[in-house]
Each structure stands twice: as C-alpha cells, then as structure tokens.
Amino acid sequence: MAWDRNQMAERAAQELQDGWYVNLGIGIPTLVANYVGDKDITLQSENGMLGMGPFPFEGEEDPDLINAGKQTITELSRTAYFDSATSFGMIRGGKIAAAILGAMEVAENGDLANWMIPGKLVKGMGGAMDLVAGVGKVIVIMDHANKKGESKLLKECTLPLTGKGVVDRIITNLGVFDVVEGGLKLVEMADGVTRAEIDSLTEATLVN
C-alpha cells in the first residue's frame, strides 16, 4: 500500500526539527501542520506572518487574517506580523529552516518545476521561487506519478523551472528520496511498496 495524502504529510513532519521556522506550501504540505506533535515549530506564511495558527471557528473568520493560500486562519500567542518585503527578507536571508512544497516535476539534479504549464495553466510562481532559492532545506511532497501514470521524478524537467538544483528531499506516495551526486537515492519505501514498483514508476536515475 502506497501512502495516502495524510501519511505523506505525516512522513514529511518527521523531517522538521524542534525550534525550526518552516514554510508550508499550498495543498498536501498544509497538512504537515497536523503532524508536528510536541515539536516547537513556528510556521511562516509569506504574506507576512510568523506563528500561523489553525483555521478559525465558524463566525470568527477575520478578512484581515489569511495565509498565503488566501484561507482564513488564526494567530497564536507567538505570532508576529510584518510586511511582504520583510517576509521575503527572512526567506531570502536563509532564516527559514525548511520549506515543504508541492511539485509538478522534480529532476534528478534537484531542479523543480511547480509554477506553470505553458499554454494551459498560467497562475504564477507566487513566493515559490524565492523560497526554494533562500530557505535551508527544500522538501517536496508530491505523487510519484501523474494521472496518466507517468513518472514525476525525471531525468530533466520538461516544464519551466521554479529553481535549479534546489530540491533536497522528495516524499512521494511510494517513498522518500534524496537528491545526491548522480541521481536520486531511495531513503525509505512506503509500507508494502516494492523496489520493482518504484523502479517502474521512476524515470530519474536511482543511485545506491
């Protein structure tokens, strides 16, 4: 059995260390917040907040308090607010220990593509290019293959890049992979997943 979305998020949460400031992307990465347990983790929202809290109770939504996905959220006792230039100052300045992001494609050299599909989908990179260029560790969570069953772990990205050689670790529904010299190194397999399954669904070079 491959991991589901929540299991992938739970596995990603294990990457986070006590005391870290972390930025979580939109989608599955957001779920990582549910699994940090007792660790002292401060979440950054790049629209100008450290110490992001959970969604508000119904009736307590505040239009002045949203996350980078434009969702209503809450503040915590540790929360600090700041402007966008300051926010990306701390991102670019390497103060954020890790970013966990979704991706469309990752290449074996750590190239990441997650912001546009030419001619089809034009949404923009938002803060993703700044994050992957600036934070300490870039962790990608994504499905191993796309809906057509094609590998998203590639020898080279086909889509426009978000960053070049920026990814450190990839967590897919099949396992955990590190970007190393010469390709991707299989670190861990999801329960019940076989090496043959991973080999058949991975275009990138797997090194031992």
Binding site: M49, P63, E75, F82, D83, A85, M125
Partner: protein, 234 residues
C-alpha cells in the same frame, strides 16, 4: 495644506494620467485599496501598468479595472482565481510580467529607499533570469533586479493620523508598506483617521513621510477562501 481628503476621487484629483504606472498594496483581496480602485475605474484612466502581487478576482479588487480594459500591463507574482485576467492574457490583450513575490516586494522597497537595483538568487536558472545581468558573490550566481518607481501608490491601512502615520492590521499589511514607499505620490485609504498623538509613536508601522494624501473609506473586505474548523463537542 493638510493630507486629509473627503473622497477617493478628490484624493486622486490631478494625479491620474493615461499610461501611468501604479503600485497597489494588498495580497489577494486582503488589505486592498478598494475605494481608490473604484475611483480609478470611475476616472476612466487608461493604459495603466499596475504593479500588484495579484490582480483581484473577476468583479472585485483590481479585477474591476481589468473588466473595464483600463489595464495594459500587470506586474504580479500570482494571477490565479481570475478568469477575465486569464482570458485577456491568453488572447494577448493584456501584458503580464511575472515577478517572484519576494522580488516584487523588494523591487518596490528598494526603489523607495533609493536603491535602483539589487542582486538576488531568486530565479537563477529560470525564465526569470533571461536577459538579466548575472554576478557571482562567494561563488554563487545572483541576478540583477531593478527597483520599481511608481507614478502613484495606492495603499490600504487600518488607521492613520492626520500627518499620515500608519498602522496596519494583521496580514492586511502585506505589500502596502513597500507599495507606499515606491510611489512618487502615495494615496492611502484607512478605516479610521485618528487624532495626532493617539497612536503610540513606537507602534507606527509606516511613518507619514511616505504618505501624501489620506481618505477614510468604507471597506467590504471580501474573504477569498473562507476556511473554518469544527468546534469539538464537549
């Protein structure tokens, strides 16, 4: 001459011209200058270039200026959630310059601080780097990005005193301070104008030196993604 004006139209009087560059504060629909956007719509100023992180939604925020075809070009980091924007862009009616979000914020901030350009690692090796100067620092590549000086900044704050000292609220601060800093003229709309002296000088987020005209306005403050959690049963 005081900084307080009676209406958005009055505050923009003499500042608008076709083909101008406007920097707008806000992130999504949060902390956007709703009243000033409406007044620009009413004024009918055309061929605008607008530097703003987002372009609003179809019928709210900067989206209203797209519907009236007053915008020639957007400088933004993210334009999802806006069908009319997508349509105009894909059909070639609207120019779009994608900027990484932090690069856009710093282009505004730096220009406002008299720094015409800066080197950043953001976008190295991507389409963003095309045509830009590359310089090595400590063995790593950085690209040169230029500051944005706007003809006009439109900004939303929570409170202002009559000298233009501003206080923002929660994440509605976002791009508003950098947008304010990069404008040759900065017009601010607030929820409340308070007497000078009533804001603790230590609690001012943006000093009034950046602010030229102020209006008090009504704000709809639309929520883009209403997300809530359930109360646990006792």
């Amino acid at each position: 001459m005081g900084k307080i004006y009676n209406s958005a139209a009055e505050a923009l009087d003499g500042l608008l011209f076709d083909g101008m560059l406007i920097a707008a504060g806000g992130f999504g629909l949060c902390g956007i200058p709703e009243n000033l956007i409406s007044a620009i719509k009413d004024a009918g100023t055309k061929d605008l270039t607008v530097a703003s992180n987002n372009a609003g939604v179809d019928n709210f925020g900067l989206g209203v200026l797209l519907q009236t075809r007053q915008v020639k070009k957007m400088i933004s980091s993210y334009v999802g959630e806006n069908d009319e924007f997508m349509r105009q862009y894909l059909s070639g009616e609207l120019e779009l310059e994608f900027n990484p979000q932090g690069t856009l914020a710093e282009r505004m901030r730096s220009a406002g601080c008299g720094i015409p350009g800066f080197y950043t690692k953001t976008g190295v090796g991507t389409v963003i780097a095309e045509g830009k100067e590359v310089k090595k620092f400590n063995g790593q590549d950085y690209i040169l990005e230029e500051g944005i000086i706007a003809d006009l900044s439109i900004v939303k704050a929570w409170k202002a005193d009559d000298t233009g000292n501003l206080v923002f609220r929660k994440t509605a601060r976002n791009f508003n301070p950098p947008a304010a800093m990069c404008g040759k003229v900065c017009v601010v709309e607030v929820e409340e104008i308070v007497p000078r002296g009533s804001i603790d000088p230590d609690h001012i987020h943006l000093p009034g030196i950046y602010v030229h005209r102020i209006i008090q306005g009504e704000h709809e403050k639309r929520i883009e993604q209403r997300t809530v959690r359930q109360r646990e049963e006792a």
